[in-house]
Symmetry: C2
Subunit: 214 residues, 2 copies
Amino acid sequence: MWCDDRMTAKEPAMPSDAPSAIGRPGSYSKGVARRQEILDRAIEVFQERGADGTSLRRIAGAIGVSHAALLHYFDSREQLLVAVYEHAEKRRDETVVDLPEPERGIDIMIEAANANIEVPGLVQLYSTLVAASLEADAGPSREYFTARFERVREDLEQRLRREQAEGRMRADVDVRHVAALIVAASDGLQIQWLLEPSVELQASLETFGKLLAP
Amino acid sequence: MWCDDRMTAKEPAMPSDAPSAIGRPGSYSKGVARRQEILDRAIEVFQERGADGTSLRRIAGAIGVSHAALLHYFDSREQLLVAVYEHAEKRRDETVVDLPEPERGIDIMIEAANANIEVPGLVQLYSTLVAASLEADAGPSREYFTARFERVREDLEQRLRREQAEGRMRADVDVRHVAALIVAASDGLQIQWLLEPSVELQASLETFGKLLAP
DNA sequence: GTCTATACGAAGATAGAC
DNA sequence: GTCTATCTTCGTATAGAC
């Protein structure tokens, strides 16, 4: 397990495993296979511990290498964290079951949120990195999350627009506002749920869906 | 300035300045006056720099004492950060203008959100502390934010219930869900706005208000 | 290319002198 | 009440073994 899509050798890798935007763009010099292996292993650590308390030395220890070795594949701890989150989210997306169409935009987010909170460390890692991206002299997390928010909002916006056109959603509200609201609500509710499980994450998001009904 | 409600001497302090829940409960032994003075000064540093990059040594330097001196008034860096946030939020609440009644719950949050983003460091500090509160072995931030979320949701819930009773809000949705949604949306949108100012924080929250109209 | 060993400076925290 | 000194751990950088 954990190895399904891992490269089997140190070959240049297929296009689907091309270095991510956050990795080392356009460069295979650091060994894609080993990099993936490290991520696969690191993800387990973070799923348990989140982001705090997981130093480079600790992660390295869990993997069985020196902490300096990690910096051979990632420029900094923050870049490693971002790569781990990206990696974990991809895994999650593969796990999420696609509901039969027509599926509302809000339903996509409900499924994703439900999958997220099953791995508390993932939500904590997400929150930590988002906070870091707000820093004045932000590192790689800024670029990543700016792009991620943009992408998720854009995707949601398209779906909502279609729902409006098909009469499945109120037509008297701005879809761009609603898209941003859904993302914000999903993120915020996951946090509130982790701190107080009586918050009813899924039911609250479904209430939002009810507000959007035509 | 910065000193309006500060204690003038090392007297036991009035009830209104009793040590906060996050401070050192029930103990005046550490000098309330000096503590307030430190907070007043520390808040300026955080309003500029947020949370990251602001070490105990840096804050201490800005105040003119050693970092060890700060730990004489606060048990840890995290406790200082929470106290600073609590202090800053109180200041903000005093600044926010109260709209004439009847004011909707969502309007309260819009005003607060607008006041927040004028001090970017405050949003960053908030995000950092919330992320820290999700940690497995969480420090003082866990208790603080659990209570804070509870309090804000509760307050919102009461307002919404009244709005429903007076026919100013849709009656077919659960107010507890909506209260959690508003808090989540406000928190999340502030972050999205900081990363991408085209997000339209206020307009999006007003769109939410539109969804709640009867 | 991959990795270990090691060093450096900064960080949070603690102990004890004044 | 505040300081200096010190401990441990951290991220980062470099040198060099294989």
